[in-house]
């Protein structure tokens, strides 16, 4: 690929965003951050992202609420949902609304990297 894969992180927790940005940038991805749905929309309008990493629990519209809209507006950007473990109903709902992967917090950074790699590979392999 000519350019690095671009990842959008949508999470209201500052430390979480910082951690994810550090780890993913270290892996060579280009990372952008958004605090909530509104900032995410602005970011999505500005650039194309290869992966959206979105937290479910946010004030205002939750990740689940935003999911269908994002899938509609940028179908080329697969979405990985994060949520607290034990939140199984959200898992089912997220999958049905179009999330491709799910991560239960706290997850290992290894787990995160593997999930992103898998999604990127799928994307590359799927018809344009």
């Amino acid at each position: 690929m000519g350019r690095n894969r671009r990842i959008l992180i949508v999470d209201d927790d500052t430390e979480m965003r910082a951690l994810l940005t550090d780890v993913l940038q270290n892996e060579g991805y280009e990372v952008a951050e958004a605090r909530d749905g509104a900032e995410a929309v602005l970011a999505l309008r500005a650039k194309h992202f290869d992966v959206i990493l979105m937290d479910k629990n946010m004030p205002g519209p939750s990740g689940l609420d935003l999911l269908p809209g994002f899938r509609r507006v940028c179908p080329q950007s697969p979405i990985i949902m994060m949520t607290a473990f034990g939140d199984v109903p959200s898992y089912m709902e997220a999958i049905e609304k179009g999330a491709v992967e799910f991560l239960f917090k706290p997850f290992r950074m290894e787990e995160l990297k593997a999930a992103i790699a898998k999604v990127v590979a799928q994307d590359a392999g799927s018809p344009a």
């Binding site: 979480m16 780890v23 270290n26 205002g60 607290a84 034990g86 706290p106 290992r108």
Partner: protein
């Protein structure tokens, strides 16, 4: 005094009966006695007159005989004096044919004789005449009796005066005696009526009063023991029957209240469990992220340290402990996680009815009515009955707590919101992507401002004063609504009220699976 008597009449059955009876009797016998006594008096008077007439006739014959035999005036007067000895005679006078007094014998107080109209009429008509007179000594009867003078065939007369005083005294005495005996009879009668009433009527009535009072004081086992079959006995029977019914109804009420209390406690318990579950979930949610940050950073740090470095050990410990924390919270969640909803097709009206019934008492205490305006015959929804009950319980409780006394909480069905659009703010959670049933819970409370509406679904956010709310009610409502693939919307107009609209997917809709999706 009059007032006391009036009071007595009002309050005492016996007294009233007795007094009225006495008055009636006195009236009847009084009238009767009066007419009888009057008749008697007239009869006596007539009798007296007749006596005097007969006496006068006889006397006239005797005088005529004496005159024919030639007695002198003096001798005649002696005769008259002897005759006057008869009790009651006041005077005897012999009038000659020309009206002159031939001889007379007068009692001391009696007026002098004279040939007045009465005498002259008698002399002229040759018929006896009588007259009643008032004198100083009392009433007298004058009777003038004509007789034929022995010589010449002319008419002479004898006047007899009879005092009526004695007769009248007798009459008055007779009246007195009659009245006294009447009163005695009346008194005896009244006493026996009183005694009879007290015994036959007053006693059972007092028993009834005592029975009613006992029941009024809460002693529902009280019964009246009467063994008569008349109206009072029937009254006692009905009373006993009524007391029995009251007892049964009371027992029923107690039973129902106990049952309702039990159900309410169960519902409260379920609510607490659900709240704790929500708490645990919220803790898990909140802890997940910082825990992630800690373990993530430890991982990153570990990566930058060469394997042999002693500091690596510390990071291993940090990672290990974060995993332990995770396990602890997972265990906690397993215990308290709200159960997966068991979705079945159900009618929503019974659930709403149970909720209204459970909260009836609370509504009554706050003087707020709960109006169930949901019609029968609505399509079934796909839902877990217990969780649905919990959901509406929370919504209606919130509505009740927000309602001022005298207002009403309405439960209704229908697509459109009940609150008008003007000044209305809203927030929605979840969405339904198929045919659904919308249930509205509307209150007339103070409403919520737009800023409050934003936060209202957040756990631990509460507008209730003194920390009365757990802050989890609406969070649970959202959780249950989402678990049912439904949505909840909150609309509010500050100062007018708040409306919660719950949308639930219909049962057996074409797009929905017949059962809940399997969990991983």
């Amino acid at each position: 005094m009059i007032r006391r008597l009036g009071n007595l009449l009002m309050r005492n059955l016996t007294a009233r009966l007795v007094i009225l009876l006495m008055l009636a009797l006195m009236l009847i016998t009084g009238v009767n006695d009066y007419s009888r006594l009057t008749q008697e008096r007239e009869r006596l008077a007539g009798q007296m007159q007749e006596d005097v007439r007969i006496f006068s006739e006889t006397l006239a014959l005797a005088v005529r005989q004496n005159v024919r035999r030639g007695r002198t005036t003096d001798e005649l007067r002696e005769l008259l004096d002897e005759i006057l000895a008869r009790p009651g005679l006041e005077a005897v006078v012999i009038f000659g044919p020309d009206g002159k007094v031939i001889a007379s014998s007068i009692a001391p107080n009696s007026p002098d004789p004279q040939a007045d109209d009465l005498v002259r009429t008698t002399l002229g008509s040759r018929r006896p005449a009588a007259q009643a007179l008032e004198t100083e000594g009392g009433r007298i009867l004058r009777h003038v009796q004509p007789f034929r003078w022995p010589t010449g065939g002319r008419t002479a007369a004898i006047e007899v005066r009879q005092t009526l005083v004695a007769m009248e005294q007798d009459y008055r005495r007779a009246v007195r005696e009659r009245v006294l005996s009447r009163l005695a009879v009346l008194a005896a009668f009244v006493l026996s009526v009183v005694a009879l009433t007290r015994w036959n009527i007053g006693r059972p009535i007092r028993a009834l009063i005592a029975g009613a009072q006992a029941i009024g004081h809460g002693n529902l086992g009280q019964r009246i023991e009467l063994t008569r079959r008349d109206e009072i006995g029937q009254l006692a029977d009905e009373f006993n029957r009524m007391a029995g019914n009251l007892q049964d109804a009371n027992r029923q009420l107690i039973h129902e209240a106990t049952e309702r209390l039990r159900l309410e406690q169960e519902a409260q318990q379920a609510q607490k469990l659900a709240a704790v579950g929500m708490l645990a979930a919220k803790v898990a949610h909140e802890i997940g992220t910082p825990l992630n940050v800690i373990s993530g950073r430890a991982e990153v740090l570990a990566r930058s340290i060469p394997p042999e470095q002693p500091g690596l050990r510390h990071l291993d410990v940090i990672l290990g402990q974060t995993e332990r924390i995770t396990r602890i919270i997972r265990t906690l969640l397993d215990y308290t996680r709200p159960k997966r909803p068991n979705l079945v097709p159900i009618e929503i009206l019974p659930t709403l009815g149970r909720v209204a019934s459970l909260l009836m008492e609370r509504g009554r205490r706050r003087e707020v009515r709960i109006l169930l305006e949901v019609p029968t015959g609505l399509p079934e929804v796909q839902a877990d009955p217990d969780q649905l009950q919990q959901l509406f319980l929370n919504l209606v409780q919130n509505a009740l707590d927000a309602s001022p006394p005298g207002s009403a909480v309405r439960l209704a069905a229908g697509e459109a919101p009940l609150l008008p659009e003007e000044g209305r703010a809203g927030i929605r959670r979840g969405e339904v992507d198929s045919a659904c049933l919308a249930i509205h819970v509307l209150d007339q409370g103070g409403g919520l401002a737009a800023e409050e509406l934003e936060k209202v679904f957040e756990p631990f956010f509460s507008t209730k004063v003194d920390g009365r709310g757990t802050g989890l009610g609406l969070a649970i409502v959202e959780e249950i609504a989402r678990a049912h693939r439904g949505a909840v919307e909150l609309l509010s107009i500050p100062g007018r009220g708040t409306e919660a609209i719950v949308r639930l997917p219909l049962a057996a809709g074409p797009e929905l699976p017949a059962e809940a999706p399997p969990h991983a």
